[in-house]
């Protein structure tokens, strides 16, 4: 349950605004903060080739209300466009494709600004567009983009730290790659609600202990109503104390001990009442395995704590300042700041609210400590927003880093060596998968699409595509490794060749949906984006994510 700390303000008598009503179904996913981020986003699409997949992506960003989009496309609308692209019609024939697309996409949402380029014939029109435009939040380009334009984009991306998204859809296959400028931390990861329960039953603080003691001190003489309405937190704390008394002061730790403890809790339920059992004790027993567990540092946060910075502290975002403060908290207390939410459980209203307040008060206290430390780290002249600290403390266990720079000894992203590494790993996995009847790796699809882009030619046949892949990988691979790859690659290349570098609308619409989801995650800094390449196989209807 999303728990919202708020004062009981007098009700607003008029309902939601027109805009809130229009965006209602998405505000429930990313809230006003995510919407504000979307509305200030300025997105560039550099379109080429069959030209549909990027347009389908834009559609899914314009509808939820990004601030502005620009389409750069050198093509004039031809007959084939009308059979694959929904945002062109017969009246567009022969006109600049960018102009027609911007106009028909713009109709989708009057609140979004749209523009297009090139408006005149000139050299380096993309370069001058980039110079003249307000800074872009993210740039997408689609294959087959020409080399000169790609270099221009890469240059811009490097200079302005702009996320760059490459998209390629041909025939039944597609992939897209997200290149983020440096390590990308996410705090608001939206974990599953059930995963977020953090009750601290093995390290209760004095107020919680006192609450449980008061509730359970005469547990056996409580009447059936009171006994049947003890919140399970109090029940578990009470019986954990009892367990400790008979187990040398230790908590149940092994699976066997926990199941024994669970039985102890089950047996404590009254069955001589009219219901023949007690719901709150059922809830308590059901919660044992998950909540009676010692604290361990989650892997995502561990990565944050151990992150080796290359830039000086003054240049880091406040995320890293708060992360340092949380790390200091962890070093001092051996635990994380308490998130403070209490799952619903059978209890009387008053008792439940009292319990909620105990957790909330502790969470506020922890967050205040983190805020104080963060402010000290930041020094004078830098603001630390208490709301950002609160969000971090609430989500600390689920904080995640994407696109970690210099992670371990792997070959650099985008390099030939990286491709070879992933290929070897995938081919090895396939040998296991083949025996266990698991699905095969989609890496050959990625390679074949890269090969096709390398040929850059609609008439490339199977052999040419496979040869292009070979040159992409260079000849460091043994013939055995190639032997494994060749058959799989050959089949994919054959299917790819029949498409002649053309897009299928469904594959592009599906890919455009996935890319739009990822763009939304990156712009709003909510949910967890892919890291960093996603391949879709439209023949088997499957995806796979690679780190290349």
């Amino acid at each position: 349950m999303t728990e919202i700390v708020m004062d009981q303000t007098p009700p607003i008598l008029q309902g939601p605004s027109d805009k809130e009503r229009k965006y209602d179904r998405q505000l429930r996913l990313w809230a006003a903060s995510g919407q504000a981020a979307l509305e200030s986003a300025n997105i560039l699409l550099v379109n080429s080739g069959a030209g549909t997949v990027g347009v389908e992506t834009l559609k899914n960003l314009i509808l939820p209300g990004i601030g502005r989009f620009v389409i750069h496309d050198n093509a004039l609308v031809d007959e084939a466009d009308l059979g694959v692209n929904f945002f062109l019609d017969d009246s567009c024939y022969g006109k600049p494709r960018a102009q027609c697309l911007a106009s028909l996409l713009g109709e989708l949402n009057p609140e979004v600004d749209g523009d297009w380029s090139p408006k005149t014939k000139q050299n380096d029109s993309l370069g001058s567009l980039l110079k003249q435009s307000p800074l872009f939040t993210a740039i997408m380009y689609t294959y087959p983009i020409n080399h000169v334009e790609l270099e221009t984009l890469e240059q811009y991306s490097k200079e302005h730290k702009t996320p760059l998204i490459a998209i390629h859809s041909t025939g039944f296959y597609s992939y897209f790659t997200i290149r983020l400028p440096g390590t990308f931390p996410i705090v608001d990861t939206h974990p599953d609600e059930t995963a977020t329960t953090d009750l601290r039953l093995l390290s209760p603080w004095p107020e919680l202990v006192e609450f449980a003691n008061t509730m359970t001190k005469d547990i056996d003489s409580l009447d059936n109503f009171e006994h049947g309405h003890l919140p399970y937190v109090a029940i578990l704390l009470h019986y954990l104390d009892k367990w400790k008394a008979t187990h040398n002061g230790t908590y149940p730790s092994t699976y066997k001990e926990k199941t024994e403890f669970r039985q102890l809790v089950r047996d404590a339920a009254r069955t001589d009442n009219p219901e023949g059992g007690e719901e709150n004790f059922d809830e308590a027993a059901a919660a044992v395995l998950k909540t009676v567990a010692p604290f361990s540092l989650p892997s995502g946060l561990k990565e944050v704590f151990e992150y080796e910075h290359k830039d000086p502290i003054q240049e880091r975002s406040t995320f890293w300042i708060i992360a340092d403060a949380v790390k200091a908290f962890y070093t001092k207390h051996g635990s994380l700041p308490l998130p403070g939410n209490v799952p619903d459980m059978k209890a009387q209203s008053k008792v439940y609210v009292q319990l909620q307040n105990i957790y909330k008060a502790k969470a506020r206290k922890d967050a205040a400590e983190v805020l104080q430390t963060a402010r000290a780290i930041a020094g004078t002249g830098r603001e630390v927003d208490p709301a950002e600290v609160d969000l971090f403390c609430k989500n600390a266990a689920f904080v995640k880093l994407i696109n970690v720079e210099g992670g371990g000894d792997t070959a650099p992203l985008g390099s030939k060596e990286r491709l070879q590494q992933v290929l070897r790993q995938e081919m090895a996995n396939d040998q296991v998968a083949e025996m266990t009847l698991q699905p095969m790796s989609l890496f050959p699809i990625y390679l074949a699409l890269r090969g096709l882009a390398h040929c850059g030619n609609a008439s490339s046949d199977k052999t040419q595509i496979v040869e292009a892949v070979t040159s992409l990988l260079s000849d460091n691979l043994s013939s055995e490794e190639y032997g494994d790859l060749n058959e799989k690659l050959g089949n994919v290349a054959e299917d790819l060749a029949r498409a002649e570098y053309g897009e299928l609308h469904n594959i592009s619409a599906l890919t455009g949906g996935m890319v739009a989801q990822e763009m939304i995650k990156i712009i709003t800094k909510q949910y967890i984006p892919i890291d960093n390449t996603c391949v879709f196989d439209g023949i088997r209807s499957r995806t796979q994510v690679f780190h290349v």
């Binding site: 009057p110 939304i520 209807s541």
Partner: protein
Amino acid sequence: MSSPEVLPDSEAKRWKYLNNVRTRPGAFVDPEEFDGSTVVENMNKIKILVIGAGGLGCEILKNLALSGFKDISVIDMDTIDISNLNRQFLFRHADVGKFKAEVAAKFVERRVKGVKITPYNCKIQDFDEDFYQQFQIVVCGLDSIEARRWINATLVNMASCENPDSMKPLIDGGTEGFKGQARVILPTMGSCIECQLDMHAPRAAVPLCTLASIPRQPEHCIEWAHVIAWDKEKPFPQLDKDDPEHITWLYQKALERAKEFNISGVTYSLTQGVVKNIIPAIAATNSVIAAACCNEALKIASSCAPFLGTPGEGEPNYMMYSGNDSIYTYTFKHEQKEDCPVCGMTARVLKVNPKWTLEELIESFATLPEAQLKKPSVRAEGKTLYMQLPPNLEEQTRPNLEKTLEQLGLTEGTELAVTDPAFVGVVFNFSLKFA
């Protein structure tokens, strides 16, 4: 509006990308099934039905029109609401209040030359088998599980082994937030929607006593206003969940109650969400799922690549998609269930307590994941135990509701035949097991 004469040459140019793939063999086609020379002609003749013209429906219509389907029909009884505009991209602000099916059909016909789309502004239950018989493929983009079960039962009932034309592939999509699923059902030849019902278990209801006396969550206060306060005070003759005045009334009631119990978090938006059971929805996810469905439709219609639901050992029929944490798909085979009430051969085992009254049994059908029947009528081996309709039969059988299963003479292994007005013509068979 008459479309200008399209020259065959220009047709070939227009559909170049699609035809390159659907008329030429790829690496994975079944040579027995695939004949590239007849694909275009065959697909031109196919009649395909789209159920739902909402978030998924708009996408499906666009995708089918650009996949070479020429004769499309669409059913939707709903009218356009402002909250549809963030994803149902065939509608504009000026269309609010008009029929979805009609506006969507006109839009796609106008945009994609040479496609005919027939809209039906009504419920799927308004049509009989004769109507559904005319289509070769059905694509479903619905948010109601009930409607899905109805069309599933109807199509499975229509399928007969002797007549291959009666076998109509049902392609179904659904989304929630960043997640969704696409599945293909070949009636009687594989798992059907009823076989997969437990994958869509209803959310557990909050016990009435919690609402009535010990609320703890803002949702409890809202449900209290919705089910208890509204009934008691009847501020308007009939609750209209789309009327902001009604929602405001519930919101204020819930807020008062929350205040009384010191519960925070009741908002207008939450009130609306709980009362209407709103599922978050975005364009991007609809785009993924609708396209996954239409990709299967193209493959089924042309045989230009293997499709989900292909009969055979281990052949997948279900794709689950999740975009919350990275992107994850799980494409697998959901097995047909022998005791499926719609496509199975044997009665499904139902664990019951012999001390239950018939009323308790009947109520349990609503929440049981594999039944989910809200108004069941029950017969046991020829004897009528309880009938919801007609009123005189209901009155005659009502006294049975208070009797226990034992008193009614039901024993282990007794077979119950259950019907529900939501699924006319379908009998759900259960075999009792005492626990």
